[in-house]
């Protein structure tokens, strides 16, 4: 096998693993979300399909495949069809540069579940998530439905506004790590949990967390599909698997921002406890820490949904522009000054 072919094979396997894990994660998330919301609300949630209802997402998937497709005659056909594909493709694409868990030794080589370890990792994510708004805007516009249009406009404005704060919140991390690579940023957080960026860059963490919640349109920022106001927002007219693709894109985005949160601010696969062994019986323990962190923050999104009402549109915009962006920007400059004054971190 030539090295290139071998690389291609490895890449292909990685893609299959990542995409499969994301789709599986999406399915499990829908079930976890419904179940945990139900328990917060004195209900049972789906509990009939399989043990504890765990097969419910599969049943839902099958049902959605068999569902009748409806497209309004007034809709713009190809745009209408393209929107869910664009949404899911951009969502998947953004996951390309994220490391899922620590590097580990296998088959005589060092491997890591990361599709592409490019130099400009964070920039890439920044670029692709900005593309993600296309799916939403196209869906909102194509349906020729007033609620969809309002939903599409709302989400584009919302995503634009919070994209800025999101971008700003990364600057100090890049500064401290001297790299765009997510692996490098994770490695700056090795050792005790006081090295985690959530401690060092606390304001950036707050800004990132809020902006990320808004980016993935979760409560309290779920205005693009605020069902009590604009019915279902940009996907009002979507049915069957077209609807499922849009949902899939949203959940994948949610997983992406959560994985980023764990990697960028919570030490990634580092346990945070000095002296913790790297692996147990050959199994890299980093996967456990990383998995726990990701799972916890995914649950936080559900928890928020079970607790909070949503913002009003103008409050959302003002919060983004007048609170998050100034806070993030001022933090960047403050940190830079400190960095120069203190003389930089360990090199």
């Amino acid at each position: 096998m030539t090295p290139l072919a071998e690389e291609l094979l490895v890449t292909f396997v990685k893609i299959v693993i990542v995409v499969g894990a994301l789709l599986g994660g999406f399915s499990v998330m829908t079930w976890v979300e419904r179940r945990s919301l139900a328990f917060m609300q004195y209900r049972l949630g789906p509990n009939r399909t399989g043990p504890f209802g765990i097969l419910q997402p599969i049943a839902d998937g099958i049902k959605l495949f068999f569902k009748e497709e409806v497209m309004p005659v007034a809709a713009n056909k190809w745009t209408f069809l393209a929107a869910p594909v664009v949404a899911v493709a951009t969502a998947l694409l953004a996951t390309a540069v994220i490391p899922y868990g620590p590097p580990f030794e296998a088959f005589g080589r060092t491997l890591q579940i990361q599709i592409a370890d490019i130099e400009v990792g964070l920039l890439f994510i920044f670029a692709v998530t900005a593309l993600g708004v296309y799916g939403v805007v196209l869906a909102g516009w194509a349906a020729n439905n007033k609620y969809s249009l309002l939903g599409g406009l709302r989400s584009s404005a919302q995503m634009f506004s919070y994209e800025l704060a999101l971008g700003f919140s990364w600057v100090t991390l890049i500064l401290a790590a001297r790299s765009f690579r997510i692996n490098d940023i994770v490695d700056t957080q090795a050792g005790g949990f006081w090295h985690w960026n959530v401690v060092v860059h606390f304001p950036a963490f707050i800004v990132y967390f809020l902006a990320a919640t808004a980016e993935v349109a979760r409560i309290p920022f779920d205005l693009p599909e605020g069902e009590s106001e604009i019915v279902a927002g940009f996907h009002t007219e979507y049915a069957s698997m077209r609807f499922a693709l849009i949902q899939m894109a949203e959940y994948i985005n949610m997983i992406t921002v959560t994985v980023l949160l764990a990697n960028l601010f919570f030490g990634g696969w580092h346990s945070g406890v000095p002296g913790m062994p790297e692996s147990l019986g050959g199994f890299p323990l980093g996967f456990v820490w990383w998995g726990l962190k990701v799972a916890f923050f995914l649950f936080v999104f559900i928890w928020l949904r079970g607790t909070l009402p949503r913002f009003r549109y103008d409050q959302l915009m003002q919060f983004g522009w007048k609170v998050l962006i100034p806070v993030a920007a001022v933090w960047v400059m403050t940190f830079a000054v400190l960095w120069v004054v203190v003389g930089g971190g360990p090199r």
Binding site: K146, S228, L308, R312, Y313
Partner: protein, 574 residues
């Protein structure tokens, strides 16, 4: 029993009645344009000439001794072929004074040949829909009305349904719906959006059309009538008993209270009170119904804001209350438990235990809801200073109940005109200060706690004795007697066959419904069917103001406001 008597010659009016402020003020201001002054069961009725109609209404509102600021109700009555009446139609206005705590009924005869009367929308804003309704159902034209079009029936409807000579079997097919409700300014580039009838946050089938400029509502107009079934027409062909199940369908979220209000109105007309035990049970079940209604209002309102958990948390208490209602009446939603003069049957043996269980559950969910919401910063941002309705506006629109109290008007029928023994119970009436959504929310939350207090007191002093009056003209005798003695059998037969025969006259019976003052204006001609029944549905006045409240605001505010107004389509459309 009294049959119809010719009351052409009005009974002599006592000096005390003439000395009542409203009577005195109108006689001074209008002189001989006041046609008659009557007093029946404590209801003051003043009839004025048609040309003095608006002036009389304004006098009643502005005269210092009258101060009738709260618009209650306006309706038409058709006296077809009634020789005791000067003209075929009558327009009837009910007003209340919060400061003086008195009611008045103002009437004016309207001839069939020229069914026109001046509008009083300039005096009371709330008269708008009531006049449209009177036009819709009676064909009485209100001169100068800003928008005199059909309200409860649809555009393809021919005729006026509440007229006595209207053929009830006639069917009218709706050919096309009214697509545009608001006035679109020429050259407008705003988006015309329907909210309802089938919209996730419309709590019932009604429709608001909004002219949107981005997220801002530039103009809005409401349309109702989707659930109109003309309860009032049906009531004219039923006996006083038979109407009870229909009242359950008015505000179906708190159906017991409608029956309670209806029974009290008829009892007032008859002059037959219910026994103390029945009244106490009525109070208990009414307060529980009020709690249910408030729970629905508050929890669905926050669902509209995107918070779903409080809904499920708070709704649980309704289950216990429904269990209690079911144990008493056999039905959960539409209970029909009230009878004229009492209750259908005594409460079950475990009544107190069920009440205690329901109370515990209510207290739990109210506190849980309070913790989830009251100090939640996003919730406050969404509710504070949103949908502000100031005191005078609210009175002019005819608001009542929690919404009016949210605007700072201390008016609660239970306190100001106690019925069913409310004077025995110690409770507070919460009042808001700003009149925004948050005040309305706080008032409802506090009212639930006060209702709990009332129920606890009523349970502690629940009297024994019968649950229905022993007046043989009103209550059917117990089955055991019907089967064993001929007088009771005859009594039963007569009551079922002839119905309750009240004296001729008209009364306005009113109670504090969950949404506000629930009034029943009953005109009796002494027959077994009422001549005219007019419901004053509390949310009708409230919803009427809604389009005006949302203009200039955000779409999301409109959604936050409507849930807090608690509009119930069954009551709105009747």
């Amino acid at each position: 029993m009294a049959s119809v008597t010719n009351t052409n010659t009005a009974p002599p009016v006592s000096p005390e009645v003439l000395a009542k402020p409203a009577a005195r003020a109108l006689r001074e201001a209008l002189g001989d344009r006041v046609l008659s002054i009557e007093d029946f069961r404590g209801d003051l009725t003043i009839t004025v000439e048609r040309r003095a109609w608006v002036e009389a209404a304004r006098q009643l509102r502005d005269h210092a001794d009258c101060d009738f600021k709260l618009f209650l109700d306006l309706c038409g009555v058709d006296y077809l072929d009634r020789e005791d009446r000067p003209e075929r139609f009558e327009v009837v206005l009910h007003l209340y004074s919060v400061s003086r705590k008195h009611h008045v009924r103002l009437k004016t005869p309207v001839p069939e040949s020229d069914p026109r009367v001046d509008t009083i929308t300039g005096v009371f804003r709330g008269a708008n829909w009531f006049e449209r309704e009177a036009w819709d159902l009676y064909g009485i034209v209100f001169k100068g009305h800003p928008n005199l079009i059909r309200l409860l029936t649809h555009e393809s409807f021919v005729g006026h349904a509440l007229r006595k000579d209207y053929p009830t079997a006639k069917r009218h097919v709706l050919k096309s719906s009214k697509e545009v409700l608001v006035d679109i300014p020429p050259g407008s580039e705003n988006l015309l959006v329907n909210i309802g009838p089938s919209h996730p946050s419309m709590h019932g089938t009604f429709r608001v059309q909004a002219l949107m400029d981005g997220e801002t509502v530039r103009d809005a107009e409401a349309e109702i009538g989707y659930m109109h079934r003309n309860f009032e027409k049906m009531a004219e062909e039923r006996t006083y008993w038979q109407i009870i199940p229909y009242t359950d369908r008015l505000n179906y979220c708190s159906s017991f209270m409608n029956g309670h209000g209806w029974a009290l109105a008829v009892e007032k007309l008859l002059g037959v009170p219910a026994p103390p035990r029945a009244e106490a049970v009525r109070v208990i079940l009414s307060e529980f119904s009020r709690i249910m209604d408030h729970i629905i209002c508050v929890s669905t309102n926050v669902v509209d804001l995107g918070a779903i958990t409080p809904y499920f948390v708070m709704f649980r208490a309704r289950e216990d209350i429904y269990t209690l209602l079911e144990a008493c009446s056999g039905a959960r939603l539409t209970v029909s438990y009230v009878r004229i003069g009492g209750l259908a049957q005594d409460v079950p043996d475990n009544f107190e235990a069920l009440c205690r269980a329901a109370l515990a559950s209510v207290q739990e969910v109210v506190e849980a809801g309070d913790k989830l919401l009251t100090r939640n910063i996003i919730f406050m941002k969404r509710f504070k200073d949103i949908g502000v309705m100031d005191r005078d506006e609210a009175l002019s629109w005819g608001w009542a109940g929690p919404c009016l109290r949210g605007s700072g008007v201390d008016y609660d029928v239970r306190k100001d005109h106690p019925y069913s023994g409310y004077e025995q119970y110690d409770f507070d009436v919460p009042v808001g200060t700003v009149g925004d959504c948050f005040d309305r929310y706080l008032v409802r939350m506090e009212e639930m706690r006060q209702s709990v207090r009332i129920v606890e007191q009523a349970l502690a002093q629940l009297p024994g004795g019968p649950v229905i009056t022993d007046d043989k003209r009103v209550a059917i005798p117990p089955k055991s007697e019907v089967y064993s003695n001929i007088e009771a059998l005859m009594n039963h037969f007569k009551l079922i066959y002839e119905g309750i025969l009240p004296p001729p006259g008209e009364t306005y019976g009113y109670t504090e419904g969950a949404n506000g003052e629930l009034g029943f204006y009953i005109v009796s001609d002494g027959q077994k069917h009422p001549w005219r029944v007019k419901v004053r549905p509390p949310c009708y006045n409230i919803y009427q103001a809604f389009p005006h409240m949302i203009r200039g605001g955000m779409l999301a505010d409109a959604i936050a406001i409507i849930g807090g107004l608690n509009v119930i389509a069954g009551e709105l459309d009747r």
